[in-house]
Structures are given as C-alpha cells and as structure tokens.
Symmetry: C2
Subunit: 349 residues, 2 copies
C-alpha cells in the first residue's frame, strides 16, 4: 500500500497515520519514539508510512504535554537603535549555532537596560515560552540574577568570574587580560598609563579595573585620576573620553581601554589631537574584534573568544536542562594578548 505525501493544507497527525496503518494512536506515537514494546516490524512500517505521509509532529502539542519548550531565551540589551556591539553579535552567533546543534530554539528579545529590563525577563520566564535563559554582561548586584534565582529559573551567566557561585557561569578572565596589557606596556617603558574603562557597574569593567590596578601596583604605578575615564561601549564614547583625558597639561604615553570599539574612538581622538597613535601614544583594546586587525594602525588587544563564550554557555545550559551531568559549572577562558602596531612602534628610541 502506498501512502502519498499529503499535499493539501491539512496537517498529518498521529491519528491519520494510525488510521493508515490500522493501529492505535498510542502505538504510532510509541513506534515513532522508539519504545521497545512495539515490534520492530511495526515500528519500521509505521515510520515508513509516517515519512511517506510527510508527518511532522505538532510542536505545540508536544510542548503542552511534555511541559518543556526546547527553547532558550536571550535578551539583547540595546542602548540605541543604531548601536550594534560586535560583542553581542558574536555572542549571539555562538549561542544560536549551538542551540540549533542541540535541537533547541532561540528566542531573542530586546530591551533597554533599566527598569523595563526586569519586566522583560519576568515576562519571558512567566509564560512558559522558554526553558532557560542566557544572561550576558552581568552587573554587580544584578537585579536580573536576583529575579532568576528567586524564581528558580534555569540560567547561565556570561561575563564574570566572581559572583556568588550558585549558578552556571561562563566568562573570560578580564583581570588577567588587563594584567597582560599592563605588563606589556610597562615592559615597553610606559609609566604614564591612562585608562578608558567601560561602566563600572558591570562586573567585567570592575574585574578589568582590578586586574589593571594590581598589575600597576606590581610595577609601582597607580592609576592617575587625571588619566582615568569611563564611557559606554561605543566609538563615540571612546572619542569623548579620550578628549577629556588629553585635555590636561600632561598626557599619558599609553591609554588602556576595556573595549575594542572604545579603543577605535580613542584612536580617532588621539589622532585628531595631532598625536600619532602607536608612536606618541600607545593604545590597547579588549576583545580582538575583526575591525581591530585592520585599524590604522592595527590595534593591540586582548583576544577573547566571544563565539566560544556563547557556544559554551548554551551548551552548559542545555546540558543542565536535560538533567545530564555537567563536568564543571564554571568555565573561565584565559585571554591572550595580541600585540599589534598601536602599541608596538618605536618608543623611547
């Protein structure tokens, strides 16, 4: 008997298959799910017929019954419509790729950080839309984490090494990254080292700052108030921060930044003030985005495998959701320094 793929609008259901093969709906369901109380012959026959009829399970029915959605949530913080942080793009790709590989869907929502944000998380976790959520760019005293912990909702955090370790965590090691940068600059003879940091309420920025401070102390240096600014993750922010940094009577010989995009802005400002980047003033970034390599001059930066951060975060969360054993709940990637010309031209000849 040949079963045509149904090409009308009607959807093929288990019931249709059951009628076609002359068995019960339960038998068909169990056959398709490889239960062993269905004889091998019937099983292959049923699968064959299901295939011929073009059966695809109704996900909503499955999800209702199984009380699971096989979907992860990710909320993209959006500062301004145009602002597209390469960090989040890369993270998203890592997460989405891994989700697909694991058979999970990824639900993406957006939100401007602030009060609304918690509401957005609340909506997402209260409506059975998703099984778990990925939180990126964690903050100190992060209300999102409080909420998720309180609601006992599964989640993984990307972006800090040092939170109260009650949940899954994936991060690069910002402090070590900062140390690498400072050590490099100090070895080149720099002593007046400025900092353009990202907002200090982010755990990343705080850890970066601590790392830098530590490395500076070891070199008997400290972070001068006059060489210290803070800005958001944008080129414009970096540009403006650098302008104030350079407005004083003395200028630093090196400027460390906590983000590549910010560094690009700093480079532009330094250039516009008549300095030669890499010669008069060394500049470093963080992240090693694609643009860093082809900046003018190419940007010394800290390599962070953002894609892997997203991928591993997703993998860990899925593993946990499946109830499988997780070898480690905290994953920290060691960063490495990528030395390019923005800090490698001839100083102090």
């Amino acid at each position: 008997m040949l079963h045509q793929p149904r090409n009308d609008k009607e959807e093929v259901t288990l019931k249709d298959i059951a009628e076609a093969v002359g068995k019960s709906v339960a038998a068909v369901s169990r056959a398709l799910n490889d239960y062993d109380d269905i004889s091998p012959e019937t099983r292959t026959y049923i699968k064959q017929v299901a295939f011929e009829m073009g059966y695809t399970p109704n996900l909503m029915a499955q999800r209702l019954k199984k009380r699971t959605t096989d979907t992860l949530g990710f909320i993209l913080p959006v500062l301004s419509p145009k602002n597209s942080d390469p960090y989040f793009s890369e993270l998203l790709v890592g997460i989405a790729n891994e989700a697909t590989a694991q058979g999970f869907d990824l639900l993406v929502s957006t939100c401007v950080p602030g009060y609304e944000e918690v509401q957005a998380y609340l909506r997402l976790i209260n409506s059975h839309r998703i099984d778990g959520i990925i939180v990126a760019r964690s903050r100190r005293r992060d209300p999102r984490l409080d909420l998720l912990l309180e609601k006992q909702f599964p989640f993984v955090v990307i972006g800090t090494v040092d939170l109260q370790k009650g949940f899954l965590l994936v991060s690069d090691d910002a402090a070590t990254g900062a140390r690498l940068v400072v050590n490099h600059l100090v070895a080149r003879g720099h002593r007046k080292i400025g900092l353009v940091n990202t907002p200090m309420d982010l755990t990343f920025s705080a850890e970066f700052f601590d790392g830098m401070k530590g490395a500076m102390l070891e070199a008997n240096l400290e972070i001068d108030q006059n060489y210290w600014a803070e800005c958001d993750f944008s080129q414009k922010g970096g540009y403006q921060a650098a302008q104030t940094l350079l407005s004083g009577s003395e200028t630093p010989t090196a400027i460390v930044t906590a983000d590549d995009v910010v560094a690009l802005g700093v480079m532009a400002a330094v250039h516009d003030q008549g300095f030669q980047v890499g010669h008069d003033i060394a500049i470093t970034g963080y992240g090693d985005i694609l643009l860093a390599e082809h900046a003018q001059p190419p940007l010394t930066t800290v390599q962070r495998s953002t894609y892997n951060l997203g991928q591993q975060a997703c993998r860990m969360l899925v593993t946990k959701l499946r109830g499988e054993l997780l070898e480690q709940e905290h994953l920290v990637f060691k960063p490495s320094l990528v030395i390019r010309q923005s800090s490698d031209l001839d100083f102090w000849l």
Copy 2:
C-alpha cells in the same frame, strides 16, 4: 475573600480560578477574553481573582488550540563565526523591538548560506514553530523565496526593490543611493571612479551596480574593468579588493563601495599604499554605520535606515498575519547622501 498569589511550584490554571470563583472554566476563559456574554460584575471579579492568584495563561495550550504561534522567524546568515555585520545587528534590533511591541516572539536561527540554508528554512516552516518569516539580503533567483512561495508560507523580504512582486517587500533604494554617490563624485571633478562592489548575486549589489552604471553613463563615464572589484561584507575583503584595484599602473581618483565595512577596509588599504584618503583618493561607503562617522577621515556614505527596515518589515508581516488591511505591500525608503571628509577634502585645487 482574598486570593493569595500562589507561590508554590504549581501553576495557576483556568480550572483553579474557576474553582476559586465558583464558575465554570469556560466562564473564566470568556471573562478574561472580554466576551460580552459574561456580566460586567463577574468579569471584573474574575479578572481580579486571576490577578491575585498570579495567573498567566499557558502559551503552549493557547497556541495548540488557536493554531497560531505568535512567533516570527529570522535566520541570520553567518559567513564566519567572528564576522558580525552591523547591518544585520541593526536589522535584528529593529525586528526584535517591533516584534515585542506587537506581542510577537522572535525566533532567531543561524545558517551558513548555501544548501544547508534552504534546509534551515524548511525545518523552520514545517514545524509549526513560527507564523511568518523575515528574509533579509535577498538574492537573484533566491531559493529561499522559491521555497516560501511554493509552501505558501507568509514572509517579508528585506533588501530589494525589484522582485516579482508577489509578496511583502521592504527595501532601501540601492540604485538611487549609488546615483547620489556618483553624482557627488562627478560634481567634484572625479572621472576615474573605481568600484568595490559586494557579491553580484545579491539583489542589493546588482541594483547598486545598475544605479552606478546609469549615473556614470549620464556623465559620459563607464566603469573601467581595471577599477572594478568585488568582495564579501568584511573589512578584510575591502582591504584585499582595494589592493588589487591599486596594483595597476593607473589608480582611480575615487573608489565607490557598496558597504561601509568594506569601505573601512578600502580606506586602510589606500592608506597603507601611501595615499591620503580624501585627498589623493576619495572613498565612499554605503549604510552609514556608527563607525563611519568616526572613521579617519570620516566616511562619506549613503544613509540607510536599517533599523526602520527591520521595524517596518516586522510590522507589515504582523499586519498581514493578523489579516488586517495593509495600505501598501511594498515599502521603499529613499536613501540620502552623507558627505564627510573621505570625499570632501581639497581636490583639484
């Protein structure tokens, strides 16, 4: 009678509310959905109790019953893990914001363009996960569109003006953009104008090329084979393309590109070859990404409201899905020229 919000793990269902208020499940459902065969008093009472008990509808049950998912799909093409195109980031934010505003979820998947891609679309539309899909960066003879048309699946296309108009369409007008650029350069006295285009199988690139060719013809110019290259959407691609362009005996006095990120690469290459961007060689981009404004020198480019493209695409698709009247099925944004120093320094004094 006071109904406590239930704080145990159990979910509040219509049945719970029904028992609490002493009415039937149907009455509760109808009350919450504002049917007019429930008396105003009961309706407000039921709503009150539902609120107090912390009721949130089970989405999967609703979706199963209503046979709709209130979810849109978007497949992010990913060339390489690190490659994060600002265009797609901005598009995504526009789409996601509008989806949220319309009460829709957004499902994001990734895929490397090619054979797999159609499979990814097929999976998505076959499994009742989404009600409609947003297709970006359309191609000539796009297999994705063939598939969607064949399956009669609702979708909207972003990125071309000129397809067989059987579906929803949102686009900027690349041809006009190219014309603006060429007219500007010609007015500045340029006659040897090179082109670094993006891949010609994209409708965008083809339309850009046509626009440029037309404008050149009107100025009695043509696109010289020696000044004509093609590359993918990356700074590296632009860098390499520009290198081949500049390797000949004669060099163009202006290089038009079809993408800002590519333009940044071209600028780097031009600079590295010892030319001064904006003075020796004018360079233009397309898109007006944030980085364009702070490039060195700031990049002349075509303003495209990518955020709005995403937003409107989403809005149109949702309107269509709701069965509401759509004033127009094709929306084309007129681009405008943003003149900056990369094409505006002193030539031909």
